[in-house]
């Protein structure tokens, strides 16, 4: 059976051009970039080029890019690093209820274990944070504001330019998790007042296990792991050279193709959403109607469990997800869907379809053929619908 992969927010397949660039490193560049010899210098040169590419894609200087093992580490480094660096100045962190667990669980742990004071801001029913809430939350003790660029579950884009301006006025470090947007939307730190920005290669057709944190020059910063002093002493550990090279190649390709690809995805996404609305009663579309990622369709189907939808779609050859990827048991309603005000029952019926480069009109037609049948079958067995 031909599979239709609609879970690009979870991960994207590696672009074949990127895989080749990565294989070339493993094949031809065996050195450690910290070594003095020729092999080391060769690895260093490849990594420098990749750093320039990643920096160029977001309007940064190469020295402002810190490579990490992915988005989660970038978020941890941003949050823990800033709090540690500014502990003498304050102890208050502002974030939102819809952040990724990489941020939310990190700030919660800092609250529990290091007595950091925490403000978790609510969002409106579209999942948008009100910048004025950020302004009001900032106190003299605030050291960090962390608001994601776009939400991974519902696709809503946050007003981070405005939030960043407020942070700058108040001289507070501003971090944004841009894992879902870099590669899909224009992200330029010359115009965007962010100090720290998390990136993740496997969201833009690069490999898993590599990401980066952009650290604006002059931002107070402390490393969180100790060792060999790599990445200008900001992230110890021998660099993932092949992954970094692949990340550079992937981001360059994504940036180049974005002007065509993002509108193409938005059109398919709109076809999908209007088709779903026409064919299925009592379905709620989550997220902001216009301020949203081009490839994200997030729904809640009343009367059915998201897991049932996912399994039924999977059996029909369609890979989808229900809110965040879930590894165990039945799905706990997502914190994001609860934060936008959905009931637990409705939130349990969530379905996220995220489109990508391979998605075609025909794929959308297949989904629009299968999904209504699956929903009516599941509703027939449901005591709720």
């Amino acid at each position: 059976m031909r599979r239709i992969y609609l879970d690009h927010a979870a991960t994207t397949p590696v672009d074949p051009r990127v895989a080749e660039a990565m294989a070339a490193v493993y094949r031809d560049a065996p050195g450690n970039p910290s070594s003095i010899h020729d092999e080391g210098r060769q690895a260093r040169a490849l990594m420098d080029t990749a750093r320039e590419r990643v920096a160029a894609a977001i309007g940064a200087e190469p020295s402002e890019i810190v490579f990490t093992s992915g988005g989660t580490e970038a978020d941890n480094l941003a949050v823990r690093g800033t709090v540690a660096a500014l502990r003498h100045k304050g102890d208050h962190v502002v974030t939102t209820a819809i952040e990724h667990h990489a941020v939310l669980d990190t700030v919660s742990e800092l609250e529990r274990e290091q007595n950091v004071r925490l403000t978790v801001l609510p969002v409106d029913r579209y999942g948008r944070v009100d910048p004025e809430d950020v302004r009001e939350a900032i106190t003299a003790r605030t050291v960090l504001v962390s608001v994601m660029h776009a939400n991974n579950e519902i696709g809503t884009i946050e007003p981070i330019a405005e939030i960043g301006r407020i942070c700058r006025e108040r001289n507070v470090v501003f971090h944004s998790d841009a894992v879902q947007t870099v590669g899909a939307l224009e992200v330029d730190v010359r115009r965007l007042p962010v100090d720290l920005l998390s990136l993740n290669a496997h969201k833009f057709y690069g490999p898993k296990g590599v990401g980066a944190l952009y650290v604006r020059k002059g931002t107070p910063f402390a490393r969180i792991q100790t060792g060999g002093g790599q990445e200008r002493d900001r992230r110890a550990g021998t660099e993932n050279v092949a992954g970094i090279v692949a990340m550079g190649a992937a981001l360059e390709i994504a940036t180049r193709e974005r002007a065509i690809e993002s509108p193409r995805l938005a059109r398919l996404r709109d076809l999908l959403l209007s088709g779903v609305r026409d064919a299925i009663d009592d379905v709620v579309v989550n997220g902001h109607p216009t301020e949203r990622l081009p490839n994200n369709a997030s729904l809640c189907v009343r009367g059915v469990q998201g897991e049932s939808l996912i399994v039924a779609l999977d059996l029909a050859g369609i890979a989808a997800s229900s809110g965040a990827a879930c590894t165990t048991g039945s799905l706990e309603p997502s914190h994001v869907l609860l934060a936008i005000g959905l009931s637990r029952e409705l939130a349990q019926g969530s379905l996220r379809l995220t489109l990508g480069r391979a998605t075609t009109d025909e794929d959308v037609d297949v989904v629009l053929g299968e999904l209504p049948r699956i929903v009516s079958r599941l509703r027939a067995a449901s005591p709720v619908a």
Binding site: Q305, V311, L315, G329, S330, A381, P383
Partner: protein, 122 residues
């Protein structure tokens, strides 16, 4: 992830619905995930003549409810009321560990439906 039997009972569940003029109605839920199953039964000649279910739940919960009703129909009331989660799991060819609660919920809903029928019958 799932056995062929689970997939079959999820894709083509048996005994969906509500028994008309049911002798007994039962429900069980899984407090962890909020899933619940309702089962209705009709008894005749000391046997379970009919058993139907409605489930708000995951694929394993639906398959378990379908299976437990299948196991119950035609059995003596006494035998049917002793159908356990283990029986459901065995008939399904097993479930992943985290889903075993689904079998428990299905067996619980059947047991409570039969108990309800016994109470009503006095």
């Amino acid at each position: 992830m799932y056995s062929d039997v689970v997939v079959e009972h999820f894709t083509n569940p048996r005994n969906i619905g509500v028994v008309e003029n049911a002798d007994g109605r039962g429900q069980d839920s899984n407090p962890v995930c909020g899933d619940f199953t309702r089962i209705t039964v009709r008894l005749a000649d000391g046997k379970v003549a009919e058993a139907k279910f409605k489930t708000f739940g995951c694929s394993a919960a639906i398959a378990s409810a379908s299976m437990v009703t299948t196991l119950a129909v035609g059995k003596s009331i006494d035998h049917a009321s002793r159908i356990s989660a283990q029986d459901v799991l065995a008939a399904l060819g097993g479930l992943p560990l985290v889903k075993e609660g689904c079998a428990l919920m299905a067996a619980g809903a059947l047991r409570s439906a039969i108990a309800d029928a016994k109470v009503r019958a006095g």
